[in-house]
């Protein structure tokens, strides 16, 4: 592995262990881009027609988490130039654990817009159609898991190690969306988009309860009610004791073109989605907007595996009665206890369909036009993932010169971080419109040196958020407002 590759991996790792965002393109919201209807279907670009080229129309990448940062993992030590990791014997693990939250999430979302089309209908109507490939994953690691690993269980005496927030969810699906927006009054515009979803593969943990209660006498009670649902080309091999022996990838699915087509079409895992939004011109200069996006679900029916374990087990020490009365050896007593533990959590393997829900977002925005082309915006975005709520508040300055140039810079406060500066740039050359934007642009950098190369790593990079693409755009709907003449009645 070259030095550069290694540090790119470190960079990704850094991002993976960086602080979380609400996973949205905050900058995009107030820009004059066709893709902003993805955030609020009532929004529409100024051009009359746009076509997103297959595969080039838009790529959106989000990777983030909400706990520690590069500098929390690698620490400047003594002497000055030395570096130690957070696991170094000279480092106090409490400092690392101080960064750990009760729910520590790792999230990734990738959306590739395969095709996007939008066009004006009538005076104010706008129809849009999207085909997207989406991969979403998120893992929530309970803070107690880190505390358990680094500090042990003794500190939990009299408490419960609560792992009920442990969650994992990954899904890959096709999204076909058709939407329409129009003005319902002079001031109110409403847009709606229906989505048909085709799931390809998914795995999710349905965690109803998971925890270990440690009593003052250090006896332990383990309770679990956990189901791992999978849909995809995997075979779970169980042994005779109902324990998972191995999980193997079933590549027979792809050996025939029919099989591969069947798998990648996702036609057996159907879901529905909905985006709905509205804008309201409060005054000539103030526009309010709201939307709910990605409200939906997928029902997974194809190649389903459900692994379920549910029970409670108490361990309060090996009972020495049998040892003292000579009926068993202590080894046999220990083995009996382990057998009891295994039997208590026998895994059932079923094939029942399951449902996963999309993480949905709620946007509330307002913009004030300082001039005809320059505006400032305030956007609140809340993302609900399972039982978790992520919030972001963005202040932006936006310059939209018709279709020719659209820029925005933003400041976002979210998840206890207040140093997120974003920027976006879109410009049009003829009928081609390019855009590139990110919610997070690092302003402080760390230089990572090794033998062969130097790599710049953001000092406080909370997330990777990048959206870029290219559209074909035609026409420009922006026209002067037809003010009604004032009639003076004497």
């Amino acid at each position: 592995m070259t030095g550069k590759t290694k540090y790119i991996l470190i960079l990704i790792l850094t991002v993976i262990i960086a602080d979380a965002s609400a996973q949205n393109s905050q900058v995009l919201y107030f820009m004059n881009l066709p893709q902003n209807h993805l955030l609020n279907p009532a929004l529409r670009p100024s051009n009359k027609v746009y076509i997103g080229l297959p595969g080039m129309s838009g790529i959106n990448l989000n990777i983030n988490n909400n706990f520690v940062n590069f500098k929390d993992v690698f620490i400047k030590g003594q002497p000055k130039d030395s570096i130690i990791s957070f696991l170094h014997p000279d480092y106090n693990p409490d400092k690392f654990l101080a960064k750990i939250k009760n729910k520590n999430s790792l999230e990734q979302e990738t959306t590739v817009q395969l095709l996007g089309v939008g066009f004006s209908v009538g005076n104010d109507g706008y129809v849009f159609l999207d085909i997207n490939e989406r991969i979403q994953s998120n893992i929530v690691l309970p803070g107690d898991l880190f505390r358990l690993a680094l500090k042990g269980n003794e500190g939990f005496a009299g408490k419960k190690i609560d792992l009920s927030s442990l969650r994992g969810d990954i899904k890959y699906y096709h999204e076909f969306g058709v939407g329409f927006s129009r003005n319902f009054t002079d001031k109110l515009r409403i847009g709606i988009k229906g989505k048909l979803l085709f799931g390809i593969a998914a795995a999710s943990i349905d965690n109803k309860s998971l925890g270990i209660t440690i009593n003052d006498d250090y006896s332990h009670t383990l309770d679990a009610n956990l189901t791992v649902n999978m849909s995809g080309p995997v075979n779970v091999i169980m042994n005779s004791e109902h324990n998972v022996e191995s999980v193997v990838f079933d590549d027979n699915k792809y050996k025939t073109s029919a099989g591969a087509t069947d798998f990648f079409s996702g036609k057996k895992n159907i879901g529905l989605g909905l985006d709905i939004g509205a804008t309201f011109d409060l005054t000539d200069r103030i526009i309010l907007s709201a939307s709910v996006t990605d409200l939906g679900f997928i029902r997974w029916k194809n190649d389903v595996t459900n692994l379920k374990a549910s029970n409670q087990f108490k361990f309060s020490g090996l009972n020495m009665l049998d040892v003292f009365n000579g009926t068993k050896t202590i080894d046999e007593v220990g083995k009996d206890m382990l057998d009891s533990l295994k039997n208590a959590f026998k895994v059932s393997n079923t094939k029942a369909p399951f449902t996963t829900y999309l993480p949905f977002g709620i946007s509330l925005g307002g913009s004030y036009s300082v001039t005809k082309r320059f505006s400032v915006g305030l956007l609140s975005y809340s993302r609900i993932i399972g039982k978790q709520l992520r919030e972001a508040l963005t202040l932006s300055a936006n310059l939209n010169l018709g279709n020719a140039l659209s820029t925005s810079i933003s400041y976002t406060a979210e998840n206890h971080r207040y140093d997120n500066l974003g920027a976006g740039l879109a410009f049009r050359a003829g009928i081609i419109q390019f855009y590139l934007l990110s919610d997070r642009i690092p302003i402080m950098w760390n230089k990572i040196q090794n033998d062969k190369s130097n790599v710049m790593v953001p000092a406080n990079w909370n997330t990777i958020n990048l959206r870029l693409g290219m559209n074909l755009v035609f026409g420009n709907r922006i026209k002067k407002k037809n003010d009604k003449p004032m009639i003076l009645v004497e």
């Binding site: 500098k71 570096i83 130690i84 170094h88 014997p89 003794e154 332990h220 009972n319 320059f374």
Partner: protein, 376 residues
Amino acid sequence: MIKRSLLYILIIMGLVITGCIKETYNMRMLSKKAHISPTLAISAVKGDISFSDVVKPSDTVVFDQNKFVTFVFKKDSVIDLKLTDFAKGNLVMTATIDPGTFDLNIYDILSHITGDFLIPNPSIKFNYSNSFTDSVKINLKATGKRKNNTVDLNLAPFTLAKPNIPVQQVITSSYIIDKTNSNLPLLISLPPEVINYSGTATVTTSGVSFPGPGRLIGSLEIDVPMELKINNLQFTDTLDNFIKDDSKNSDNPLKPEDFQFLRVIFSAKNGFPLGASLKMSLYDSATNTIKNTVDATDLLAPATVDSNGKVTGVTETATEIEFNKEFFSSVNKADKIIFRFTLNSTGNGSQIVKIYSDYRINFNAALVVKPDIKLK
């Protein structure tokens, strides 16, 4: 206005994109040391155990109707004398009781025990069947032996009951040997590894009746009622050092010296009138030195008893035995581990205590350990 706005945006974007170097990390200086040192605690063993759970009633262990425990050791055919065995005289005939040994099979245990131990009320029952019509006197010699210590029974000769001829041809009876007629308590409290016995049986005829076809069959039954006094009775055992890490190139990531501490938290509700303490020493036999000692003086406190020696209630104890880093650092310097248990009955042996089969002890032992697990 537009130009100014654009200028501001571009300036800000330029600034943020240009950024500045906050820190330089020279990864060549990255220390490869990594470890975790969690403190792990677990309830290890437990028990709620009565005497009768551990020791089942049998011919040797007898629980009476009050659940009082008595140990009974029996030896049949200690004496089997016929008339022909007696050397004939005019009025007195004597037969020899063949020397024998009563092995209590407790040598292994006794070899590890020192200290004061008293069982005040043992008894030996000499059971016999006698068909001699004349008086038979037994002179039984018995000596308890433990290592070089011996205790004589000091039993005076005793006369057996005789059958009531002609209505009774054989009489079956017993003769009790106890503290009133012998040194039996001292002998049993030795306690003996073996009891050697021998003796004579003498028939004295009246001159009127002739001792017909007489026969004397006798057996011994040693009854040891479990009432006792113990003062600093020590049980010592030396084992090879099983904690020592002998394999220098072992793949085991944890070595004894990697432990910060190991704490054994022992709690008990003791319903027995016996207390215990424990010492564990690391011993180097090459230099004949103790390298480290862990002392748990009050591991178990004895239950209180009434004036009859019966337990009146449980005594609760909670003890922490800590094996610290210094102990673990000494582990590889020792080839032996010496365990020394010290037992005391209630009042440090100042009063008699009695053992009943329904005495119980409830205990829990938890382990708290802090290893230093090196990841690199």
